[in-house]
C-alpha cells in the first residue's frame, strides 16, 4: 500500500462539516469508510478534507482495522477504520475560524449586496431575528451557511470573462438541488429562501447583461435565471403548501402571528402519515406559546386535532371568539378538515348567541351540520337554540368538556 495515498473528502456545506465532525467521527478520531482499494492495517493514509470555502486540509491518518466488503478480497473494496491522527484540536479550531469568517462575510438572510456595496456593508442589523448569531462551535449550529451564495466580487466587465463565469456557474448550478441553488438549508424558512433568491436575481437577472448586447451572454443569464426561478418556485410552493409561508406574486413572506409555530403539531402526528423529513424533531424551533400545551389525541383522522382540542377548551370556557380565531388559523393549515370547519361555524354561532343574534346562530349551526353531519355539538346546540332561543354557559361546558 502506497503511503502517499490521499482520499479526497468533499464537504459541500458547513452542515456536512458538522455532520462529519459530530456524527461520522467516533470518539473524535475514528472514521469508518469504504475505499475502492485493498488496505492494510497499520498503513498510512492522508485525508484531503475539502471545506465549503474551497480550502483543502490534509489530515494524516493510520488505518486501524480492515475488512473486505462482501467478505472477499476480489471486489477490491474494503471497509477500513481510520484513526485521524491529524485531526487535532488546532485543525478543528481552524475550521471553526473559517466557518465563522465565512458567516461574517455572507449573512444567510440579508440580501447579498449588488456589486458596488462591499462586504463590510452586511452589518448584523440586516440579518433578521431568526438568523442565528454567528457561532464558532461546530455542533449546535443548525442552519447551514451559504456556500452557494453568489460571489462577493463585482462581476467582470469584459465579455469574455463574463461569458466564462456564467458558463461555469450554469454548469455548477445544473448539478445542484433546489435549496443548494438558492444557497439555503433544506429546511430554510420563507425569509431565507426569499433572500437567497433575491440575491441571485440581483446578480444574474438577464436584464443586467442586456448592456453587453451579446445574445450568448443574455442567453446564459436567462438560463441561469430559469434555474434560479424554478428552484425558488419549487421551494415557494412547498413552503406555502406546508403553511410556513404566504405568497403573492413573486413575494414570499412568513405568515403573521402565532401560526408560525404550528410545526410541532405536524411532527407529533400520531397516525401513520409520514412526517416531513425536513422537520425532524431535533431541528424544531422552540415551540410557540399558543400551541405548546396541547397534546394531539391519538385518534387522528384529518389532522388539526390539537387545534380542535384547544378550540374546544376555549368554547368550554365560554370564549367563542378566541376559539373561532384558532379555528380560522387551523383551517389555513387543514382546509379540508370537516370537523374543524363545522367547529368553526359552531364557534361563530356561539359568538352570535352571545350577541343575541339567534337567527344568525341558527344559520351558522345549520352550516356546521352541512359541513360535517356527525358534529354532535352542532346538532345538540341547534336543538337547544331552537327550543329555548339561547344557550346557558353550563350547557356549553357540558357539551365541550
Amino acid at each position: 500500500m502506497a503511503p502517499s495515498r490521499t482520499l479526497h473528502v468533499r464537504l459541500g456545506t458547513w452542515d456536512q462539516v458538522e455532520v462529519f465532525a459530530t456524527k461520522k467521527l467516533r470518539r473524535g478520531k475514528l472514521l469508518s469508510m469504504k475505499v475502492p482499494f485493498a488496505a492494510e492495517a497499520g498503513g498510512k493514509l492522508t485525508l484531503g478534507l475539502e471545506l465549503p470555502n474551497g480550502v483543502v486540509i490534509a489530515i494524516d491518518s493510520i488505518v486501524q482495522k480492515t475488512s473486505p466488503v462482501d467478505g472477499t478480497q476480489s471486489s477490491g473494496k474494503t471497509w477500513i477504520e481510520l484513526e485521524l491522527t491529524g485531526f487535532t484540536p488546532e485543525v478543528v479550531e481552524r475550521i471553526k475560524k473559517m466557518q465563522a469568517g465565512l458567516e461574517h462575510g455572507t449573512p444567510t438572510s440579508a440580501a447579498v449586496p449588488v456589486p458596488p456595496v462591499g462586504k463590510e456593508d452586511s452589518s448584523p442589523t440586516l440579518t433578521p431575528a431568526n438568523t442565528p448569531p454567528p457561532v464558532a462551535e461546530l455542533a449546535p449550529r443548525r442552519r447551514t451557511n451559504n456556500s452557494m451564495a453568489p460571489l462577493q466580487v463585482p462581476p467582470p466587465t469584459d465579455e469574455r470573462s463574463q461569458f466564462q463565469e456564467l458558463t461555469t456557474e450554469l454548469r455548477r448550478m445544473r448539478t445542484l438541488a433546489v435549496h443548494e441553488v438558492l444557497g439555503v438549508a433544506p429546511a430554510a424558512d420563507a425569509n431565507e429562501v426569499r433572500a437567497g433568491w433575491m440575491a441571485l436575481v440581483q446578480r444574474y437577472h438577464p436584464d443586467l447583461y442586456a448592456r453587453f448586447a451579446a445574445p450568448a451572454i443574455t442567453h446564459l443569464a436567462e438560463e441561469l435565471m430559469i434555474l434560479v426561478n424554478r428552484a425558488y418556485d419549487r421551494l415557494r410552493l412547498a413552503l406555502v403548501a406546508e403553511g410556513r409561508a404566504l405568497s403573492a406574486g413573486s413575494v414570499l413572506h412568513q405568515p403573521p402571528g402565532w401560526l408560525v409555530g404550528w410545526d410541532d403539531i405536524a411532527s407529533a402526528r400520531a397516525d401513520g402519515e409520514p412526517t416531513r423529513p425536513r422537520m425532524a424533531s431535533s431541528q424544531m424551533p422552540p415551540l410557540s406559546l399558543t400551541t405548546a400545551q396541547t397534546a394531539p389525541p391519538a385518534s387522528a383522522v384529518q389532522g388539526g386535532e390539537a387545534f380542535e382540542v384547544r378550540a374546544r377548551a376555549m368554547l368550554g370556557e365560554g370564549n367563542p371568539d378566541n376559539a373561532q380565531e384558532v379555528l380560522a388559523a387551523a383551517l389555513c393549515v387543514y382546509p379540508r378538515s370537516r370537523p374543524l370547519r363545522s367547529l368553526y361555524y359552531v364557534a361563530s354561532a356561539l359568538g352570535a348567541i352571545a350577541k343575541g343574534e339567534v337567527m344568525l346562530a341558527t344559520s351558522q349551526l345549520e352550516t356546521a351540520l352541512a359541513h360535517y353531519e356527525q358534529c354532535s355539538e352542532a346538532a345538540a346546540l341547534l336543538e337547544h337554540v331552537r327550543r329555548t332561543g339561547t344557550v346557558e354557559t353550563s350547557e356549553m361546558r357540558r357539551l365541550f368538556t
Binding site: V114, A210, R211, I226
Partner: protein
C-alpha cells in the same frame, strides 16, 4: 448613425412615445401636430391607410373604415363573449379568421388582422421618433395590460415586427406606471396602481424594495374604460335627439359616431368644468336636405349618473387585487391613478371610496406609462442601473394530448423566465408524429382554457409503442411569451415541431406583412 430605441405606450385610444434624454430626463415626443398623444386610429382610405391625427376625419366620413380600439381585439378569439358584444357596438365589422381569431372586415373580401392595424400605428410612432432623432429607430419597449395572455403578448410582438420594430421587452402597464412614477424617487414603497384608460382597467399591487420592482397581484377588467362612458353618454344623446328633434339616429352609424366624438369632447371638458356643450353642426339630414344642428348642454352631475354603472365596476378588481396581495388599503403606501379616465372626478371619488383614502395626484396620468417604458429602454441599454423588474406568469400553462384532460405545466405566478417540461411516450408502434395542445389556463377541462395552439413533433424514430419518449420543454420568457422545444429522449435529438393550429398570425405571415409594409413605405 446609431440606432435608437423608444418607449411606447400603445393605448386603446391614444398612444404615447417617450425617450430618455442624454441628461437622463424623460421626454415625451410630440406628433407633427404638436400633441403629446397620437390617437390610435387607422383610416383605410382608397389611397392607402392614414394613421393618427390624419385619420380623425375618417371617424366622421367613413366610420366603417376607420379602426379605433384595435388593441382590444388583439389576440382575441372571435367567439369571446366580449368580442360578440363589441361586434354589435362597433361601427366597423368584425369577422372570424380561419383560426378563430378576430379580424376586421374592411370591404367584401378584404379583412385585416388587428396586428396589422396596430403595426400601422406603431410604424407611425416610429416615424415620429425617427423625425425627432433624425436616425433610424429599430427597437422599442412596448407596454401591455398586465392581464394580457400569451396569445395577446405574441400578437403585440408580431405587430411590432410587422412595423419593423424589434421588441426589447413587453412591459406591463402597471409596472411601467410604478417605474415611471417611482424610479427617480428611489425609496422603497408599496404601490397600488389603478390604470383606467380608454378601453381597459388594470389594477396592480407593486412593491419596490432596494430597486427591485415586484408585482404582487394584478387584476383588471379588459373591457372597462372610457369608451364605456362615451357609449353611455351617446345612448342618452340618441334618446335626447329622438325626443327633441323627432329623429331616430340609432341606425345612422355616421350620426352616432359624431355623437360619440361630441360626447368624448364633452367628457374631457367636464373633468374640469361643471358644464360642457355638445355641438354638432350637421348631425343628420332631413328628407328635404336640410341639415339638422344639434346642441346640448351637459351637466357633470348628469354624466356622472350615466357613468355610474361603469364606475361601479371599478370596485371588484381593486378589492380582488388587494385580497390577492394579502394587503389592506392602509398597507399600500401610495395609490397611483394612471390613464386619462382617472382625470374624471367621479372615478377618483369611487376609488377613494373603495380604498378609504385619497390617491396620489400624478401630473401626467396619460404619460407616466410611456415614461416608464422609456426608463425601461434606458435600463436595458445599461444607462440606468440599480433597478430590476421581476414579473410572474399571469396565467398557468397547460398541455393536453388527444382528447385528454389538460395538465398544468407552468403554474400561475411562477416567476418568469421559467421552464418546465413534460415527457410524452409514443402510443403506437412506429408512430411518426405526436400531437399535443398547449393551453393557457389551469383548468383540466380544455374548454375553460385559452387554446394557444396544437403542435406536432414530427419525424419520430421508428420504435415500438412507448419506446419513443418526447421531452417537451415550455419556456416562458421574461416577456411572458411562450417558446416550445422538443427532444427525443433516447437519441437526445432535437425534434421539429410543426404548428398544426395556432392562435395569432404565423411566422410566415408576420414576415410577409413586414416585407409588404416596408416596401409600401
Amino acid at each position: 448613425m446609431t440606432e435608437r430605441a423608444i418607449g411606447i405606450d400603445l393605448g386603446t385610444s391614444n398612444s404615447v412615445i417617450a425617450v430618455i434624454d442624454r441628461d437622463g430626463m424623460p421626454r415625451i415626443l410630440t406628433t407633427e401636430e404638436g400633441s403629446t398623444m397620437m390617437p390610435s386610429l387607422v383610416w383605410y382610405t382608397s389611397d392607402g391607410p392614414r394613421v393618427g391625427d390624419a385619420a380623425r376625419p375618417g371617424l366622421d366620413e367613413a366610420p366603417d373604415l376607420t379602426i379605433f380600439g384595435a388593441k382590444r381585439l388583439l389576440g382575441r378569439r372571435f367567439d369571446h363573449p366580449e368580442i360578440r358584444r363589441l361586434a354589435r357596438l362597433l361601427p366597423y365589422e368584425l369577422v372570424e379568421a380561419p383560426n378563430g381569431d378576430t379580424w376586421i372586415q374592411l370591404s367584401a373580401g378584404k379583412a385585416v388582422s388587428p396586428e396589422e392595424v396596430c403595426a400601422l400605428i406603431l410604424r407611425e410612432l416610429r416615424r415620429t421618433a425617427e423625425a425627432f432623432f433624425k436616425a433610424p429607430v429599430t427597437k422599442a419597449v412596448i407596454t401591455i395590460p398586465a392581464w394580457y395572455d400569451a396569445a395577446q403578448r405574441q400578437a403585440t410582438k408580431d405587430a411590432a415586427q410587422i412595423a419593423g420594430l424589434s421588441v426589447m421587452r413587453l412591459l406591463s402597464e402597471p409596472t411601467a406606471a410604478a417605474l415611471g412614477y417611482g424610479a427617480h424617487r428611489g425609496a422603497d414603497c408599496k404601490y397600488l396602481v389603478c390604470d383606467l384608460g380608454g378601453g381597459t382597467f388594470d389594477v396592480a399591487a407593486v412593491d419596490v424594495a432596494k430597486g427591485v420592482f415586484e408585482v404582487l397581484a394584478t387584476t383588471g377588467d379588459p373591457f372597462l374604460g372610457g369608451d364605456d362612458v362615451d357609449r353611455a353618454i351617446v345612448e342618452h344623446l340618441v334618446r335626447d335627439v329622438r325626443q327633441t328633434r323627432g329623429l331616430d339616429v340609432t341606425m345612422d352609424a355616421i350620426a352616432v359616431e359624431k355623437l360619440r366624438l361630441g360626447a368624448q369632447r364633452a367628457k374631457h371638458e367636464l373633468s374640469t368644468h361643471q358644464h360642457a356643450d355638445v355641438q354638432i353642426p350637421e348631425l343628420a339630414q332631413l328628407p328635404s336636405g336640410k341639415a339638422v344642428e344639434y346642441v346640448k348642454r351637459l351637466a357633470r352631475a348628469d354624466v356622472e349618473t350615466w357613468a355610474a354603472s361603469t364606475v361601479e365596476r371599478l370596485e371588484a378588481p381593486i378589492c380582488e387585487a388587494l385580497a390577492r396581495a394579502n394587503r389592506t388599503p392602509d398597507e399600500m403606501q401610495d395609490i397611483l391613478l394612471v390613464g386619462g379616465m382617472t382625470r374624471m372626478p367621479t372615478v377618483r371619488r369611487e376609488i377613494e371610496r373603495v380604498l378609504g383614502r385619497a390617491p396620489s395626484v400624478i401630473e401626467n396620468p396619460e404619460e407616466v406609462v410611456a415614461v416608464g417604458a422609456a426608463l425601461e429602454v434606458a435600463r436595458l441599454q445599461g444607462a440606468i442601473s440599480g433597478i430590476l423588474l421581476v414579473d410572474v406568469a399571469a396565467r398557468g400553462i397547460s398541455v393536453s394530448r388527444g382528447q385528454g384532460e389538460c395538465e398544468r405545466v407552468i403554474h400561475q405566478s411562477a416567476v418568469v423566465p421559467t421552464r418546465e417540461h413534460r415527457v410524452f411516450p409514443s402510443r403506437m408502434d412506429n408512430q411518426a408524429r405526436l400531437e399535443f395542445d398547449v393551453w393557457e389556463g389551469e383548468s383540466p377541462t380544455p374548454a375553460e382554457n385559452r387554446h394557444l395552439g396544437r403542435y406536432a413533433a414530427v419525424d419520430l424514430p421508428e420504435a415500438v409503442a412507448g419506446d419513443v419518449l418526447v421531452l417537451l420543454e415550455l419556456t416562458l420568457d421574461t416577456d411572458g411569451t411562450l417558446r416550445l422545444g422538443a427532444t427525443e429522449m433516447v437519441s437526445s435529438e432535437r425534434l421539429q415541431l410543426e404548428q398544426v393550429f395556432h392562435a395569432g398570425l404565423s411566422r410566415a405571415d408576420v414576415s410577409r406583412l413586414a416585407r409588404q409594409l416596408a416596401e409600401g413605405s
